[in-house]
Point group: C2
Chain length 298, copies 2
């Protein structure tokens, strides 16, 4: 049965609660040595964020009939990779940002060395969680999920995208080059989140290909809207420093086209995402997430 | 048949050649985007290092009868984690070192942002290698190996040890505190290298416990000798900046006891390692590695 469309906020809230509770349980207590490192890991992971990647994992798991008890660990692993990347991206040598999710960034609240180690340890923890818990129907599928997350996080995925991003600061990129960067920087992990969620259940090749297409479209739309919001919104709404892209002369969708055209592009990508899901059972939350990604104002 | 003792240098060389060839094949080519990141990854991983952790993995694999084709991937994964940790440890916000394995460190040769991303991407690659290749008799054992490596690398292992190390700079530690730090900072990964190598073959619980005891002893002995060499050797022999510990007021075995007493401690740990192997078949190279760790002068 398709749930009514207005259950979406309640579903989002329930997923966010579940992932928050699980992350709290997964992270070592701040009382365990090294205390300061563990405290800083908890500081940056808990109590914030939209949890978009976990939401994608939970929604994709509905399509493949995966139990929540499994998919929550895949969702947590992807979120840990995402949070580690934010901590490192915010470092002075990288984007040099001092505000994230409405709080001082880790190197501001603690120090740079701690921020580096927090990111490093969160990445390790992501793989530990995905290896140590029962997340798939077979260990073979679980290994494939680990390989997928590792590849999405690495030099041909997220870390590579950040390298391209840093390298492109102050340059004028073509639209294709900008897209290439985002497919790596944010797209790879968003695709991994969606596919890992689905891999917790029973997945055929056609459904996997459709979900991958959906996730690619959503990933780009997410980034287009991020650029629009950075150009439009005040920092207080955004929870991070707004207007940074222009200040840092970073190429963005808004620097290549006007805001109206960027929103139009995001809407076309949203439609692609909806089309990719055509005929898939239990995909209501994926559809709603596609709308949310484009319509959000934070 | 026990090989003659003088085959040790040839065996070390063959292992080093094998791991070098494999790492070269595993690392993305410098021609693949993002080129600069891939070039920097290859710069820091290839052409240097004693490869002690791979040697331990190869030697432990002989005890459990694991084929080289399997254990080489486990060895490469552990070495990638080790190299990533060196790149991050050398950063200005951490140990601030500009010489490693006789070459400028990554942040000196490239830049700080690249060094951060190189470390991040090498960690991801380690898990990708261990997940994507056939390293164990069953996928279930392979998952256990992934969990073991992740835990050894994380906040309750290597990254945690580095946090304790940074926190202890300028402080006077008791011997037990110093040992606690090293059990994390270098010991965890040395144990993981040994056990992962053995897990590529057939391993019973008693053998695993003995190998773990061996690796714990070797890990501490390795660090004691590191401290001795830092106090004694010129930088040219060491391939990294010597005398840094004293300059940075880091607690070391040599700051807690004189060099003679430190060497005596290393010898006692070496004897513990030999004793732990008592009666294990095909453990000649493990015995020889225990001697090498204590007798090396680089």
């Amino acid at each position: 049965m398709t749930p009514p469309a207005n259950d979406f906020p309640a579903w989002v809230f329930a997923c966010q609660q579940r992932i928050e509770t699980l992350l709290d349980a997964i992270l070592p207590p701040a009382s365990v040595a090294p205390q300061r490192l563990h405290e800083a890991m908890r500081y940056t992971v808990l109590g914030g964020g939209k949890r978009v990647r976990p939401l994608l994992a939970f929604a994709a798991a509905e399509v493949s009939g995966a139990p929540l008890e499994r998919v929550q660990y895949a969702a947590a692993a992807v979120e840990l990779v995402h949070v580690y990347s934010l901590v490192h991206d915010d470092l002075p040598a990288m984007d040099d940002d001092d505000l994230r999710r409405g709080k001082p960034t880790v190197h501001v609240e603690y120090d740079e060395a701690t921020a580096i180690l927090v990111g490093d340890a969160l990445q390790s923890l992501a793989f530990e969680v995905l290896a140590r818990h029962d997340v798939a129907e077979t260990p073979r599928i679980q290994l494939d999920m680990l390989g997928r997350l590792a590849q999405a996080a690495g030099s041909r995925g997220m870390a590579g995208g950040q390298a391209i991003d840093l390298d492109s600061t102050g340059k004028t990129l073509e639209l294709a080059e900008l897209e290439f960067m985002h497919i790596h920087k944010t797209g790879a992990l968003i695709r991994a989140a969606t596919l890992l969620g689905a891999q917790c259940g029973t997945l055929d090749a056609d459904t996997q290909a459709r979900l991958d297409h959906y996730a690619k479209s959503i990933g780009l739309a997410f980034q287009v809207i991020d650029d629009v919001l950075d150009a439009e919104a005040p920092s207080a709404t955004l929870g991070k420093t707004a207007g940074k892209d222009a200040a840092h002369r970073k190429p963005t969708y808004v620097s290549l086209m006007d805001i109206g055209a960027a929103r139009e592009l995001a809407n076309r990508l949203r439609q692609d995402a909806h089309d990719a899901l055509e005929g898939l059972p239990n995909s209501t939350h994926l559809h709603q997430l596609a709308d949310f990604v484009v319509e959000r104002n934070f």
